[in-house]
């Protein structure tokens, strides 16, 4: 067990070193994506607030909405971790071979490297929150509490695993279809839309909200963000964590089946 943890830690630190060796990309990812997301949200919602001459939309004031739009991509990225495509590329290009030769579990290895991205994005999220607090102050329509922060962290951990298992299952379809890029893009889009990155889920029709509670997407963005901001009640925490655990078990099962069948089809490029 100790050796396994040491190995996972090695993969984790190696991946961090790999990411940090490209500093231009690091800073562009950090600043560029926040600026783009926040910029679009600012101009869109400012126009809506001004034209309708309103103080609030749903449960959000304008500064509150901006904080939501800052947190949503940051937490979303933290949970998504490594960029998509890495598993399917390994299968497609035949580099999966090295993981089959090494005495390690491929998915454990990949999850450890996924966590490297996650931790880096988490640090970025913390820094961005701090800067937001210093320059603009936190809007008073949210109630921050240590308990909600703790629940948010637990949900983030579970959601990180769920997202990984979900994406790994989908990318493993590459054993059959070679190229699964569009499948992954669909999941990414669905996560953005039904996860609350584009529009807060509380602004969706109520029937859609009730349905989305049982889908996995909300737990990748909306649920942890709302929990941090103190917008989720304790009953929602419990239900949310249970749904997350359920989906995680299902995704693990699916991943196991897909992998066990898919590996029979692997050729490692060329015959």
């Amino acid at each position: 067990m100790r050796e396994r943890i040491r190995f996972l830690f090695s993969v984790f630190t190696m991946e961090l070193r790999r990411i940090l060796s490209y500093r231009v990309d690091f800073w562009i990812q950090f600043l560029g994506s926040i600026a783009a997301q926040l910029g679009v949200a600012y101009f869109l919602w400012r126009a809506i607030f001004d034209q309708r001459d309103i103080e609030r939309i749903g449960e959000f004031s304008f500064p509150g909405l901006m904080l939501y739009y800052l947190l949503a991509p940051l937490i979303g990225r933290t949970i998504r971790g490594a960029e998509m495509g890495s598993i399917s590329e390994e299968i497609y290009e035949g580099t999966l071979t090295r993981y089959l030769i090494y005495p390690v579990s491929f998915f454990r290895y990949k999850f450890a490297s996924h966590l490297a991205y996650t931790s880096l994005f988490l640090a970025q999220a913390g820094a961005a929150m701090l800067l937001f607090g210093i320059f603009f102050g936190f809007p008073d329509d949210f109630v921050f509490s240590p308990t909600s922060l703790f629940v948010a962290i637990v949900s983030c951990v579970l959601a990180t695993y769920l997202y990984f298992a979900l994406i790994a299952s989908i990318e493993s379809v590459a054993f059959w279809a070679d190229n699964v890029w569009s499948l992954v893009v669909i999941v990414r889009f669905a996560t953005g839309l039904f996860g609350g990155a584009m529009i807060p889920l509380s602004l969706f029709p109520s029937w859609a909200q009730e349905l989305l509670v049982f889908m996995p997407f909300a737990y990748f963005i909306s649920f942890p963000v709302r929990t941090v901001l103190g917008l989720n009640a304790p009953e929602a925490w419990i239900r949310g964590l249970l749904v997350l655990i359920g989906w995680s078990c299902a995704a693990t099962l699916v991943l196991g089946v897909v992998w066990n069948r898919g590996k029979y089809r692997y050729t490692g490029v060329g015959i």
Binding site: F7, I101, P103
Partner: protein
């Protein structure tokens, strides 16, 4: 250490007609072809042996190596490597094998070799002292100590290959699969890698299977070769016996005195079944059927001003090539 019995493997390959029409058609209906990559292959390799696996492109060499390494599973037959079924990929098995693929990078492109090796230390659970000692030894022998901190992607092909070798041997595997380890390398790098492999064999006594298209690799490293043709073993034996068993011709070379030469009646001397390889006032070389070598030599001695005469076997590379092509 390696036992394969009646191993067969087929692949289902998608066929697509050329051109846009073919691509559009394939969107709706695909045609498939079953390709038999290996047919009833049997093979065994002992500790300390380096077996050269030869064959033309598509003969099944890499497929066989992948099956023995546990990457592919065979459709039929039995494989035992170090008393394990490779396909089960038990960690205990994988800790004792190594696969080097000349055409496929296994190290992490964005990292310096030293970082990759550190990760491999954890993967193979190599004790720190043994790791340090072996890394120093391997890096020094291959002459890459000063390159360990350079990003893999910034190394030359030869340097990268040397790093791949270090990565593959750090855990001192008992079985080493070398799939075209010298492909694309210059002569100096090829030589360095060959002598390193021999040195490693001497010190660690592993079983090795080598595939290569370079005859120099085979000549220098392998006593025994296995020749595959269209997925079947057509020869399994000593390299030195290939000539006895398969050579159909001899090369007769005569060094001539250019001052005394009048005319080289090459065709007449070599006969209808011979092939003149070189015909100058200084040298006459002819390839003749084995049983006609003496007769041809006599003809040359009688008709030409010979200074020196030599009868030699065909180049082993050409013989192997002919076997691969089923000639």
């Amino acid at each position: 250490m390696i036992q394969a019995q009646n191993v067969s493997k087929t692949f289902k390959v998608h066929l697509k007609a050329p051109g846009l029409k073919g691509s559009l058609k394939a969107l709706f209906r695909r045609s498939w072809q079953t390709k038999q990559a290996l047919k009833e292959i049997s093979l065994s390799v002992k500790a300390g042996e380096i077996v050269g696996l030869l064959g033309a492109n598509g003969a099944g060499k890499t497929t066989l190596v992948k099956i023995l390494a546990g990457i592919l599973y065979p459709n039929s037959g039995h494989v035992r490597v170090l008393d394990h079924d490779p396909w089960q990929r038990k960690d205990e098995f994988r800790r004792q094998i190594s696969l080097i693929m000349g055409q496929k990078q296994q190290l992490w492109w964005d990292l310096p070799a030293a970082d990759c090796f550190l990760l491999l230390r954890e993967i193979y659970r190599i004790p720190p002292t043994a790791y340090q000692r072996d890394l120093e030894y391997l890096a020094e022998t291959l002459g890459v100590t000063n390159l360990l901190t350079t990003q893999i992607r910034r190394l030359s092909l030869g340097e990268r290959m040397k790093m791949e070798l270090i990565a593959a041997l750090l855990h001192q595997p008992r079985i080493v699969f070398l799939d075209e380890p010298t492909i694309g390398l210059d002569i100096t790098a090829q030589r360095a890698i060959r002598s390193f492999i021999l040195q490693y064999r001497q010190t660690h006594n592993p079983a090795m299977i080598l595939t290569s298209h370079y005859m120099e690799d085979i000549r220098n490293l392998c006593k025994r070769i296995v020749i595959l043709r269209k997925g079947e073993v057509v020869y399994d034996g000593l390299l030195s016996h290939v000539i006895d068993e398969f050579a159909t011709a001899k090369i007769v070379s005569a060094r001539l005195d250019p001052d005394r030469i009048t005319e080289v009646a090459s065709l007449e001397i070599s006969g209808k079944r011979g092939e003149v390889l070189e015909s100058t006032p200084e040298l006459f070389r002819v390839k003749v059927p084995k049983d006609r070598a003496m007769e041809c030599s006599r003809g040359i001695l009688e008709r030409l001003p010979v200074v020196d005469l030599n009868i030699e076997d065909e180049d082993v590379g050409s013989i192997i090539e002919a076997i691969q092509r089923a000639e």
